[in-house]
Structures are given as structure tokens and as C-alpha cells.
């Protein structure tokens, strides 16, 4: 499946070099292994923890402004830029500039739940299948017929690059209302950008910090989440008893979001999110259908 063979891991490419390759890293960093009998994955060794950025400084500056519109800082609470959403998005766009690629953090736990070792920091080496899937998702199919068996795939790199270009070079300097107008406008490149960027921001605000966001665990502190707690876990008392630290929340039975909350069911939510595959538009359709169903039942 590789176009080239024998190439070593791609490291330290500049953006210019990437562009010279048509915005694509050659699909050659994984060595064909064929059908393997069961074996443990290799130990992950980060060759270049920094990697090469995909976005240039001007793009990053616009992206920082964008993520602060998607998750705005307010009342002293952090916003998307401060927790590192822009840098984490760039780390995803340039995931294959390091080896192993920054796709799957390692297991079984970080050092936040009682372990002296942080296994999350050691990203998992991808096998051929995972590498192909994530290269296609990030870089797109780029006209290569062997990857377009179900039609062309537009990669995240292209969505971000075109979307940020559509926002304009001075997006970061615009007053907030002007930024909002651009984001709420009808430019398809901007809409495609928001469609993926907001879900990404949520991952990098509220997910594990090893992916580059949630700096200082600010996202978890903001939302009152304990974070990953393995291997320590919770004691029987912590499971069974009312939290001593439980703070009252400002909730009333009239809050409209309440109708939506039942969707937070273990199997259901996982399947819903898999179906929408990180796209805000697809998710919104699902959620609104659920609300209509709940409303229809009462109406």
C-alpha cells in the first residue's frame, strides 16, 4: 500500500517542505508488515517530541483567536487559547512529523492517579492500518485513486488551511463582533473549519493534557472533573457517600438542556459520537432530533 518504501520516519520538515510535497507527507513512514501473528506492540520511543508545526505563525495566530471565540475566556476562567487548543490542533495536523505519531496516547495511566510514571506521554506506535486511516483523515486522499475507493477524502490539514485563509490574515486583530460575523457567515470554508475546530477544542480543553491542550489541567478544574484517577481510583466511601466537597450548582428544573441529558448513556453516547465522527454539524442534527422526540412526547 505504500508508495515508497524504505523511507525513515519523517522528522523536522518545515512547512515549506510540506507544501512542496503538496501538503502531504508521503505515505511511506510505515513499513509494510503484512499479516502479523499476535505480538506485543513495540515500545514507544518519542524521536522528536516537538515535531514540525503544520501551521505557520500567522495561521497559528488566527487559530488562537478562533479557539478563543469557540471557548471564550470569561470571568477569569480560561479560554481555548490559554489551555493550548491551537497548539494541540497543530500537533494533530502535524501528528506524523514525529514517531510515533501523536494519535493515541499510551496506557494504562498517567502520573495523576498515583503512578510515578506517566504512560500517556509515550504515544502508541501505529500499525499500517491505523497509520493509513489517520494519514487519510489528516492529509486527505489528494487524488490518489487507491485511497478514493469511496470518493475523495478532504483532510483536516486542508480544512484548517482553507478555513483560516478564509477568515483573513487580520482575523486576530478584529473586534469580537466582527470575528463573530465572520464565523456565523456563510463562507463554506469557514463553516467546514468550525465544524471540526469546535469538537477539537472540546477534546483539547477537556481531554488528557498529553495531547497538547488542557494546560495545567485548567479545563478539568473549570468543569469540576477529577481527571483520570487510575490506578488509585476511588474508595468505597468515595463511591457510596455524598461528596463532602459537593457544591451546589445553579440549576433549575426549567433549564432547557435538561431534556438532552439522558443521551449521556454509556453505550449510546459513544455510538452517537462515533457516528458524527468529530463533526459538529452531524452531531447537532442528532441532538436536535433527540430534543424533538422528547418534545413530541410531551406535546
Amino acid at each position: 500500500m505504500s508508495e515508497e518504501s524504505g523511507a525513515g520516519p519523517v522528522r523536522g520538515l518545515t512547512r515549506r517542505e510540506l507544501l512542496q510535497r503538496g501538503g502531504l507527507l508521503a505515505v511511506a513512514v510505515f513499513t509494510p508488515l503484512g499479516c502479523r501473528e499476535s505480538s506485543a506492540p513495540a515500545v514507544a520511543i518519542p524521536l522528536d517530541p516537538e515535531g514540525a508545526p503544520f501551521l505557520d505563525e500567522a495561521e497559528l495566530r488566527s487559530l488562537r483567536a478562533l479557539v478563543d471565540r469557540l471557548i471564550p475566556p470569561d470571568d477569569g476562567a480560561v479560554g481555548g487559547a490559554e489551555v493550548g487548543c491551537a497548539e494541540a490542533i497543530d500537533a494533530l495536523l502535524s501528528a506524523f512529523s514525529v514517531n510515533p505519531p501523536r494519535i493515541y496516547a499510551g496506557g494504562p495511566w498517567s502520573d495523576r492517579g498515583g503512578s510515578s510514571v506517566n504512560h500517556f506521554e509515550q504515544f502508541i506506535p501505529l500499525d499500517d492500518y491505523e497509520a493509513l486511516a489517520w494519514r487519510l483523515r489528516i492529509e486527505g486522499s489528494a487524488g490518489r485513486p487507491q485511497y478514493e475507493f469511496n470518493g475523495p477524502i478532504v483532510g483536516l490539514q486542508q480544512i484548517y488551511r482553507e478555513g483560516l485563509a478564509a477568515l483573513g490574515e487580520n482575523f486576530a486583530d478584529l473586534p469580537f463582533p466582527a470575528q463573530e460575523l465572520l464565523l456565523r457567515g456563510s463562507d463554506p470554508a469557514v463553516q467546514a473549519l468550525v465544524d471540526v475546530a469546535f469538537p477539537h477544542c472540546l477534546q483539547f480543553m477537556y481531554g488528557a493534557p498529553e495531547y497538547g491542550g488542557n494546560r495545567d489541567l485548567a479545563g478539568w478544574k473549570f468543569t469540576g472533573f477529577d481527571g483520570d484517577v487510575q490506578p488509585r481510583g476511588y474508595t468505597a466511601d468515595e463511591v457510596e457517600q455524598r461528596s463532602a466537597e459537593a457544591r451546589a450548582a445553579e440549576v433549575t428544573a426549567a433549564a432547557p438542556w435538561i431534556a438532552l441529558v439522558p443521551l449521556a448513556a454509556p453505550e449510546t453516547l459513544h455510538a452517537l459520537l462515533a457516528q458524527s465522527d468529530g463533526r459538529l454539524g452531524a452531531l447537532t442534527q442528532q441532538v436536535q432530533a433527540a430534543l424533538r422526540a422528547a418534545g413530541a412526547r410531551h406535546g
Binding site: 503484512g34 499479516c35 501473528e37 499476535s38 506485543a40 506492540p41 471564550p72 470569561d74 493515541y104 496516547a105 499510551g106 496506557g107 494504562p108 495511566w109 500499525d127 499500517d128 489517520w134 487519510l136 475507493f149 469511496n150 469546535f198 469538537p199 472540546l202 481531554g207 468543569t223 469540576g224 472533573f225 484517577v229 487510575q230 490506578p231 468515595e238 463511591v239 457510596e240 455524598r242 461528596s243 459537593a246 450548582a249 445553579e250 428544573a253 438542556w257 435538561i258 431534556a259 438532552l260 439522558p262 443521551l263 449521556a264 448513556a265 453505550e267 449510546t268 453516547l269 455510538a271 462515533a274 465522527d277 459538529l280 452531531l283 447537532t284 441532538v287 424533538r292 422526540a293 412526547r297
Partner: protein
């Protein structure tokens, strides 16, 4: 030595491999996913490592699942199909995990048994318009010894003394559970108190989770990141630790990873399977023969493979002389409930879901049912007391608020990981001829093989059951002490398409009449001497209980039958 090929390494395939190896067979297991448990096949299950962790981002990135870009499914409703629409969705639709050990690596580990009444619904309750009701060719008593054996091998927690009388009448047990229940989540306790006020009994949910050290593996630490996450501490009994890894250690079982089976070839007369054909990642063709082939790819993939194996002798697909192959695709239709509290009730602090309620299993009848044209409705068990971690929460809420401050204000509350006690009625889905898996005419997988296409619309039964039973659920949520609101989403009423669930059954139903079923009670395909189906495809109906335990017990029953008939 007799040789078997097992296709799929999940709950059904792993049990089959273990059972056949124990009987002296040489077994090759073919799996499209890869191994995510370092140490697999090299030492006891107590020493297995894991690449999983309490990491939500990995879950959202399809870790351990088929990638929807490389292996999409497609779907459409019955109405779409009637209008000639080829598909209305494409991607991760009803997909189960793809890894060595299958979906059981990250399942919720809830292990109720099916009930006696579930095995003979047609003869006991009669037909239902538009549904292909059927009795199972086996009874509860046929499965009971295998339930018991699987429970003791996997390590199931529970407490027989707290189980309701009707549950024990319908699913009699010969002995106490292997180990006592885990601590009960505070959020679940609150819902249980509300349920008690309307006369419902909540009791410890049987679960394949260690409440104490078992088989060298440690006790659960109540982290709450269960469904969709692999257990970081190896406290969960599953297909790999309990069956596949011990099977490989016998030296009689080998597992081929990242191998996509696309055809079972047969002799010219179609009576015997001669070889299994698969692609490796690069698309190279491989094949191997065996005395017996066990298909255990889960309902969508099993149907797809048998349809792909059509030949002159089996023009409509292997074992499809009845025309039933791929039909009767069933998904559990969850009706979702939530009680909302104005304070932190930490629903995630506990092993997954800790309590079960069986009072809405049914069947129910009465004027409100018959007025809608149904003879009865059946619900299912209720999973009591769940929440969801913050990335899932944030993404869900994003579909409601869009971006910006409204979303952030909601996340400041942290409603789904702090303020909600959720529950799910696992609703029974009736089998329908037009709910089916077939081959998509255009969409392909990475090897150019036609993708599975799922045509699905809930039956009137599922919609009525969700509406009527959802109202009953709402009452006990509202009665939970301290709750300020309750909400219900009757999922089958959301739309006419595929439910969001990991509970699948049907497509190769077993039965004694070859004209109406795909395989015999033994699991063997009608009309093919040496191909067996061992997964949930065989279920003629799909009662509202988490299916994995029954998949394992039924696979053990089928596999022991294969081994008993062998010459080894």
C-alpha cells in the same frame, strides 16, 4: 488432529477457540483488528498489559474500532429502501470493536442472563403483525449450565440474595455469584430510592468486574471509565483474559491479526466448506482449509461474510436457502432517562453502572397497548445510575448550544459528570424481515470488498414500548431524593434509522425449520456440513438484556457440540 478456523476473536470466537482447544483441536483465529494487550499469548492473563487508559480522546479516535474511512458501513431506513434510496448514511454505524478480544476489551461488562420466557415468545405470546416472531430451538435450561460455567470462568460479581423473586424464577441460578458486588454508586442509590417509591426493586447488577482479586487479577478501583474504555487495571473479565489468552497458551491456538476474511469457499455441491479466504493489510490473498469453520464476526459482519460467499451452489449467500440470511437485524432500542440534581452526585465514581431494575421487562398488555395495534409490549432491564466524562459531555452539549459562552456556561456546571443520574431501559427489538444486512452496491472497504449495508427501522412495538415505559421511568427519576427534574428520551422515537447502541443480534437465526432459519440449533448452517455460526447472529429474538454473557454461553454450547462430534 481436527482443525478449526474461527473467524472473529470477540466474545463468541474466543470462547469457541478455548473450547475447541480444550478438546484437542488445532485452531486458527482470524481477526481484522490488532492486539492491544501487550503480553497476549505469552503468559497468564494476570500479567497482561494494556494500551488502553482512562483517555477519552483515544476513544473518540476510533481506538480499537474499525476506522470508518477504511471500513465504513452504510445504513438507511425501511422507507428509504422502499423509495429506492441506496443509503442515507455512511461511516461508523452500529460498528463493534475490532481488536484481538473484540468489543469485550472495552465493554460495559454487564452480564445478566436472558429469561425463560425469552426462548418461546411465539408459542407463549403469539404472533405480532410485521414481525417475524420465533421460538428459539433451545430453552433456558439448555443454556443454564453454560451460563453457570461462563460466569465462574469469567468471574461475575452479584448477590443472589438481593435479586427479585421474578428474576430468579425466570433465570434460576444453581449457586451464589463468584464474588460480592462492588460498592453501589451514590447516584444509583438515589435512583433506587425513587424506584422503591413506585414499587421497583433495584439490585446489584451482575457484572464481569472483579470486586476482589480473582484469577490473579486485581479488584476494580471504581474509576468509572468503563464503557468504551479498556480496563487499565485488568479488573474486568472478558473474552481475552478469560478465554482467548488461556486458549493460546495451550499451544493449540494461533491468532492471525489484521486479516479481513472475505469468502468461505465450498465444494462444488456446496455441502462442505473447503477454505477461508482473507486479505492482509496490503491486499494480498491468503487462504486456509479446516475441518470446521466457526463464524463469529458479530451479526453485521457474519451476515456480510456469508453473503459475500455466494456461489453456484449457494446463489444467495452461504446457508441462505431460506432467504433469511441478513434479515432480522436487531438492535437494542434504549429509552434513556435522567434525574437532575442541583449538587454534585458524582455518577462516574463507581464501576460503570452498579444497579439493575427488572420491573419493566414485561410483557405488558392492556388497553393502551392493544389500542395501538399490538398484542403486548416488552421492555427490558434498566441500567441505573450512569453519567459521562467531560469530553463526551462537552461534545454532546455542543450539539445543543453550538460554540461560545452558552456552551462554556453549561460546562461550568458539568451537568453530565456531576449533576445527573442516568438510566437506560434496554428495550427489546422485534425481528423484522425488512430490517436486514446486505451488501452495499457501491461503498467498499479498503480492499474493494462491498461494505455492509444496514436497512433498519424500529417496529411499532419498540416505539410504543419506549413511549409507555418511558413514562414509567420518568416517574421514578422524578422521585429520586433531591432531584429537581427528570427527563426521558425514548430513543426509538427519535427517528427511523439506526439506534446508537453496541447491542446487536439476528441475521443468521437458528431454528429447526430450514425454510425459516439460517442455522440449526447446533449453530451449523442449514445445507453446509462444516460451517457453524457461534455469535449473536444466531439469536431468533433479542430480549432486553445486555447480550455478552449469553453470546459466550451460547458459543460454549455450540462449540462443545462441535468438539463432541469430532474425531479427535
Amino acid at each position: 488432529m481436527a482443525e478449526a478456523i474461527v473467524i472473529g476473536s470477540g466474545a463468541a470466537g474466543s470462547v469457541a477457540a478455548w473450547e475447541l482447544a480444550k478438546a484437542g483441536w488445532s485452531v486458527t483465529v482470524i481477526e481484522r483488528g490488532r492486539n492491544l494487550r501487550p503480553g497476549f499469548g505469552k503468559g497468564p492473563s494476570s500479567q497482561l498489559q494494556t494500551l488502553y487508559g482512562s483517555d477519552e480522546i483515544k476513544g473518540l479516535r476510533h481506538f480499537g474500532f474499525p476506522d470508518p474511512l477504511l471500513e465504513p458501513y452504510t445504513s438507511r431506513s425501511q422507507a428509504d429502501a422502499g423509495n429506492g434510496i441506496a443509503r442515507s448514511a455512511q461511516g461508523a454505524l452500529g460498528q463493534l470493536g475490532a481488536a484481538v478480544g473484540g468489543t469485550s476489551l472495552h465493554y460495559n461488562a454487564k452480564t445478566p442472563r436472558f429469561w425463560k420466557q425469552d426462548f418461546h415468545m411465539l408459542s407463549a405470546l403469539g404472533p405480532v403483525n410485521g414481525a417475524q416472531m420465533a421460538d428459539w430451538p433451545i430453552a433456558y435450561e439448555d443454556l443454564a449450565p453454560f451460563y453457570d460455567e461462563v460466569e465462574y470462568r469469567v468471574g461475575i460479581q452479584g448477590d443472589i440474595t438481593q435479586m427479585p423473586t421474578r428474576t430468579l424464577e425466570q433465570a434460576p441460578r444453581s449457586r451464589q455469584f463468584v464474588m460480592p458486588p462492588n460498592p453501589t454508586a451514590y447516584a444509583a442509590q438515589l435512583l433506587a430510592q425513587g424506584a422503591a417509591l413506585v414499587g421497583y426493586t433495584a439490585y446489584p447488577y451482575p457484572a464481569a468486574v472483579n470486586s476482589q482479586s480473582f484469577d490473579g487479577r486485581p479488584a476494580c478501583t471504581n474509576c468509572g471509565m468503563c464503557s468504551g474504555f479498556g480496563c487499565p487495571v485488568n479488573a474486568r473479565g472478558d473474552a481475552m483474559v478469560s478465554f482467548l489468552n488461556p486458549a493460546v497458551l495451550t499451544g493449540k491456538v494461533r491468532v492471525i491479526e489484521r486479516a479481513w476474511v472475505h469468502r468461505i469457499a465450498t465444494s462444488a455441491d456446496g455441502r462442505r466448506a473447503t477454505a477461508v479466504h482473507w486479505h492482509d493489510f496490503q491486499g494480498r490473498e491468503h487462504s486456509q482449509g479446516a475441518d470446521v469453520i466457526v463464524v463469529a464476526g458479530s451479526p453485521i459482519n457474519t451476515a456480510r461474510l456469508l453473503l459475500l460467499s455466494a456461489s453456484t451452489a449457494h446463489p444467495d449467500g452461504l446457508g441462505n436457502s431460506s432467504g433469511q440470511l441478513g434479515r432480522n437485524m436487531m438492535f437494542h432500542n434504549f429509552t434513556l432517562g435522567a434525574a437532575i440534581f442541583p449538587r454534585d452526585i458524582h455518577p462516574l465514581r463507581a464501576q460503570s453502572t452498579t444497579l439493575e431494575i427488572d420491573d419493566l421487562v414485561g410483557p405488558f398488555t392492556g388497553p393502551e397497548v392493544t389500542a395501538l395495534g399490538l398484542p403486548y409490549i416488552k421492555g427490558g432491564l434498566i441500567q441505573v445510575g450512569s453519567g459521562a466524562p467531560p469530553v463526551q459531555e462537552a461534545t454532546l452539549l455542543a450539539g445543543f448550544t453550538g460554540y461560545g459562552l452558552p456552551h462554556k456556561e453549561l460546562m461550568r456546571l458539568g451537568p453530565v459528570h456531576r449533576l445527573v443520574a442516568g438510566s437506560q431501559l434496554v428495550g427489546e427489538d422485534l425481528p423484522q424481515a425488512e430490517n436486514r444486512v446486505d451488501l452495499d452496491p457501491d461503498v467498499r472497504d479498503l480492499h474493494g470488498v462491498p461494505a455492509a449495508r444496514i436497512t433498519y427501522t424500529p417496529h411499532l412495538h419498540e416505539r410504543v414500548a419506549a413511549a409507555l415505559l418511558g413514562a414509567r421511568m420518568e416517574i421514578f427519576h422524578a422521585l429520586a431524593p433531591g432531584a429537581i427534574a427528570a427527563a426521558i428520551i425514548p430513543y426509538p422515537l427519535i427517528g427511523s434509522g439506526l439506534p446508537a447502541t453496541a447491542h446487536l443480534a439476528g441475521t443468521a437465526r437458528m431454528g429447526s425449520d430450514p425454510a425459516q432459519s439460517v442455522c440449526e440449533a447446533s449453530g451449523r448452517l442449514h445445507g453446509v456440513d462444516n460451517v457453524y455460526v457461534a455469535d449473536a447472529s444466531t439469536f431468533p429474538t433479542f430480549p432486553g438484556f445486555n447480550p455478552t454473557l449469553t453470546i459466550m454461553a451460547n458459543s460454549m454450547r455450540i462449540s462443545r457440540g462441535i468438539a463432541g462430534g469430532s474425531t479427535s
